[in-house]
Amino acid sequence: MSGAFRWALLQLETWDITMVTLTINGTAHEVDAEPDMPLLWAIRDLVGLTGTKFGCGMAQCGACTVHLDGSPVRSCQTFVGDVGEAKITTIEGLTGKVAETVKAVWTDLDVPQCGYCQSGQIMSATDLLTNNPKPTDEDIDGAMAGNLCRCATYHRIRAGIHEAAKRLEA
């Protein structure tokens, strides 16, 4: 979709800068963004929410993970023109029982080291637990393998997800 979309844009000689409405964390933001702008940079540089991080720019590291209508996407490879009416949730607006439990466990277990990738880790972990309340190690590895952590906090991420599952079940 995005590739075709960008191709179509390139066929246009000019296009007017259009104001686009992005609904982020329940608030509508009017931004002056070309449709091929990665959502990551719109969120960070135009809207000013900085919890979503830039790590690779090619959907390899997961630091930029946000939820689009509740499902995780890499915002560096999701383009403003593709978002449409979809509701965007960033780490700043991530709420609900699962998310709150994940965040509480993350601090209880001191999961983060540098912390830079953790917004993305938490976006992915919340999605995993929402869809799979009792994940196995293999489920966790499968769901979280797209989120790099150069500090290699993986041991605690795994433990954190199990612990969150336990607390949510109770």
Binding site: I17, E34, M37, P38, W41, A42, R44, D45, L46, G48, T50, G51, T52, K53, F54, G55, C56, G57, M58, Q60, C61, A63, T90, I91, E92, K103, W106, T107, D108, D110, V111, P112, Q113, C114, G115, Y116, C117, Q118, S119, I122, I140, D141, G142, M144, A145, N147, L148, C149, R150, C151, A152, T153, Y154, H155, R156, I157, R158
Partner: protein
């Protein structure tokens, strides 16, 4: 050649001979608070001092208490995830009896008298070599204790009671009479109290935080809810964002560039040449990136490095077969003893260039103010160096450069550079646009991966021999690779042709072997290199510990027993090895399909043993299922953070030996992003158990020492599984 920072002479003088003594200093902070710090000085000048009419601006305090009672610790050590801020706060809060839950830590820079790292003779503020706790252990506790004493004196005077009757707990001073108050109430009065010349530190039995398992990091919540602020997140009024176009070959220079199309890109403000490449300046990152795609640059690569990995590999292997021009160790007579040996074991190992690839690609923000001062926000791991370099570019004196030390998304050594890298780029770009706006220079992942500063490529040519009883009698290595410190401000550390970072860990193996010879050939290659988490030990531990495994096998002995027979009984090496073996049930048969390997290595004053359980995958690959580690890092200030660093170090090291490599073709770096340079992901992370040896010795390093043993432990396990030794890294390609 490198550019010498304006304050260069100071670094040349950096020798670990300066007295570690200093004096406590206190003052009234701006706004009526208390500020207490510590100055390093020769012992003859050391004395307690209060700056009577002084303000905190005359020195950099370690602790500040504002009138609201808020306690802020100013850290000399930079935070890249390793927990240095947390460790230093632990030391201060322990002695101060402040409230841990409200503590704040910020990075300080620009005052070497207060902030110099004792591991570098106090002459340079730097975070590196896993020295943060070593350099902070005494002085930050002393500052905490002095601050507490001054608060108590103030309360004693105000309440008119003896100081000895005042209790301090969790940020509250109290007296049996019922009087009590927070730190803020006494901060201003305390600032006028004499600074104690000597403070009595708590004894270990009185510690409430140091060594306690249940103390949580003060910064986990902000690193969980997206509010922690990194250089990436710095936004100043009117700030522009720039991306760089670096030369594709190391050593190439800009010949010309065409930015006509780039200037047409919406949001692009300017395209400029700097000494480090072409900068595309824009209103925001995406515009800068789009603009960059539209620039064409012609490069002058007449003096650039054009060799690729294949050529270097041939060269290094060839040099390794020739006599070494320099020696890091020569004990006995290796050649003669090998002639008498019953068995000789030989191995040639090859290690690739490695990228640090921290999650936050390098960045910095620079601004010149109306008064001529320059401010720089960044991951200032070598702040004094960056201050000096920035001052030269901005044509001001170093004291006019204010550094804001940001928390960073990893470093692993990458932000401790001699030439300032992205920090000087930010100043160059700000200068190039006439300082009309603050500028953030943000590297992309590809910039970060291709701009050099790698763990050097190395070849080790090893030979060792056993006598008829299976006792090792000779150990020889010839290391070939680039020097990290030559031609830098640390060149004074290179002695008799030996850069200690090339041979550390192999020129000082802990095993009793009478004849040893460690040679070094340093090659001149135009690929910029740097320390990478655990530096020389990244390759020397692999060489030493796989060789020990081969010797044990040749001697027909168990690898743990063999090592123990060559270690001093009661040594730290023997202790961690025994502890790891015991906890891993070494000696009992491993489960079906599980193969075990062991390694032990000392680095940065800390000794770590690791035992890896490895299984083979049907596709020929392998999985490390579990690692049991035992660590002696002296006193563990934050035991859970010691564990975290060993866990992370194992993951970091395992990723490297499994699949990380930077290669070059005709001088160009082949990798650019995490699709081709592949650090460990969660599905390859083993279960990790960390056991800490109880110790009353002063704390030694912990950020790096988890890394060295994992490679050889896994390689030794894989040998058991496959019957073939690993000679070329990474294993899995």
């Amino acid at each position: 050649m490198f550019t010498k920072p304006a304050n260069y002479s100071r670094f040349r003088a950096a020798q670990p001979s300066v007295s570690r003594r200093g004096f406590l200093i206190g003052a009234l902070a701006a706004g009526g608070g208390l500020a207490v710090g510590f100055h390093l000085l020769p012992a003859s000048e050391a004395q307690a001092s209060t700056s009577a009419d002084g303000t905190a601006s005359q020195f950099t305090p370690y602790v500040m208490i504002d009138p609201s009672g808020k306690v802020t610790v100013l850290s000399s050590q930079f935070e890249m995830g390793q927990g240095s801020y947390n460790g230093i706060a632990t030391l201060v809060v322990e002695e101060l009896d402040a409230d841990w839950s409200t503590i704040e830590v910020i990075g300080a820079a620009g005052d070497v008298k207060s902030l110099g790292n004792l591991a570098f003779g106090g002459a340079l503020q730097a975070t590196g070599g896993s020295t943060s706790m070593f350099t902070s252990w005494e002085r930050y506790r002393q500052a905490g204790a002095a601050t507490r004493a001054m608060l108590v004196s103030a309360a004693a005077e105000q309440w008119d009671v003896p100081a000895s009757e005042i209790k301090v707990e969790n940020g509250v001073l109290s007296h049996a009479s019922g009087k009590q108050g927070g730190f803020g109430e006494f901060a201003a009065t305390a600032a006028k109290m004499p600074v104690p010349a000597n403070v009595t530190l708590k004894t270990p039995t009185d510690w409430k935080l140091i060594g306690k398992e249940d103390l949580k990091r003060f910064d986990s919540a902000r690193k969980t809810n997206g509010t922690e602020s990194y250089t990436l997140d710095v936004k100043l009024p009117g700030m522009l964002t720039a991306v760089m176009i670096h030369p594709p070959l190391f050593g190439a220079k800009v010949k010309s560039f065409d930015a006509k199309a780039a200037r047409e890109v919406a949001g692009v403000v300017d395209v400029l040449e700097t000494p480090r490449g072409v900068a595309v300046v824009a209103e925001h990152m995406w515009a800068a990136m789009k603009g960059r795609d539209a620039v064409t640059v012609e490069w002058d690569d007449s003096t650039a490095e054009k060799r690729g990995t294949a050529e270097l590999s041939t060269l290094y292997n060839d040099l390794a077969s020739k006599p070494a021009p320099a020696f890091a160790r020569k004990d006995g007579d290796v050649d003669a003893s090998i002639k008498t040996a019953a068995k000789v074991v030989e191995a040639t190992l090859e290690f690739p260039y490695l990228s640090h690839a921290p999650m936050e690609p390098l960045n910095a923000v620079a601004r010149r103010n109306e008064d001529g001062t320059v401010e720089i926000w960044g991951g200032h791991q070598f702040p004094d160096v960056y201050q000096g370099l920035a001052a030269q570019i901005a044509e001001v004196t170093p004291d006019k450069v204010k550094l804001h030390v940001m928390k960073t998304g990893g470093s692993f050594g990458r932000r401790a550079v001699f030439d300032g890298d992205v920090v000087v780029e930010a100043v160059y770009v700000a200068k190039a646009i006439g300082y009309r706006a603050p500028v953030k220079v943000q590297w992309t992942r590809e910039d970060d991966m291709r701009a050099g500063r790698y763990r050097p490529m190395y070849v080790h040519k090893l030979k060792a021999a056993l006598d008829a009883d299976g006792k090792p009698i000779a150990f020889e290595d010839h290391v070939v690779g680039q020097s990290i410190m030559a031609k830098t401000m640390f060149e004074g550390m290179v002695k008799d042709g030996v850069d200690p970072t090339s041979v550390e860990g192999i020129s000082n193996i802990p095993y009793s072997i009478p004849n040893q010879k460690i040679g070094l050939t340093t090659v001149d290659v135009g690929v910029p290199v740097l320390w990478w988490r655990s530096v020389g030990h990244t390759h020397t531990a692999f060489a030493a510990e796989t060789m020990m495994d081969e010797l044990a096998e040749a001697a027909g002995q168990d690898p743990v027993e063999f090592r123990l027979s060559l270690l001093e009984p009661g040594s730290r090496h023997a202790a961690v090895l025994k502890l790891a073996a015991e906890k891993a049930d070494w000696g009992k048969p491993s489960a079906e399909g599980i193969f075990r390997g062991v390694a032990v290595a000392e680095s940065f004053g800390t000794v770590v043993a690791e035992i890896a359980d490895v299984s083979l995958k049907p596709d020929g690959g392998f999985k490390v299922e579990r690692v049991v580690a035992a660590v002696d890092c002296g006193l563990a200030i934050n035991p859970d953070q010691v564990r975290a660093q060993i866990e992370g170090g194992i993951g970091f090291g395992l990723g490297a030996i499994s699949a990380e490599k930077i290669t070059l073709t005709n001088g160009e770096v082949d990798q650019g992003n995490y699709d081709t340079y592949t650090p460990l992901r969660i599905d390859a992370m083993p279960k990790v158990e960390v056991h800490i040896v109880p110790s009353a010795n002063p704390p030694s390093g912990i950020g790096e020492p988890g890394v060295p043993p994992i490679g050889p432990a896994v390689a030794n396990a894989l040998y058991k599984a496959r019957g073939q030794r690993i000679r070329t890294l990474p294993f899995q390609v």
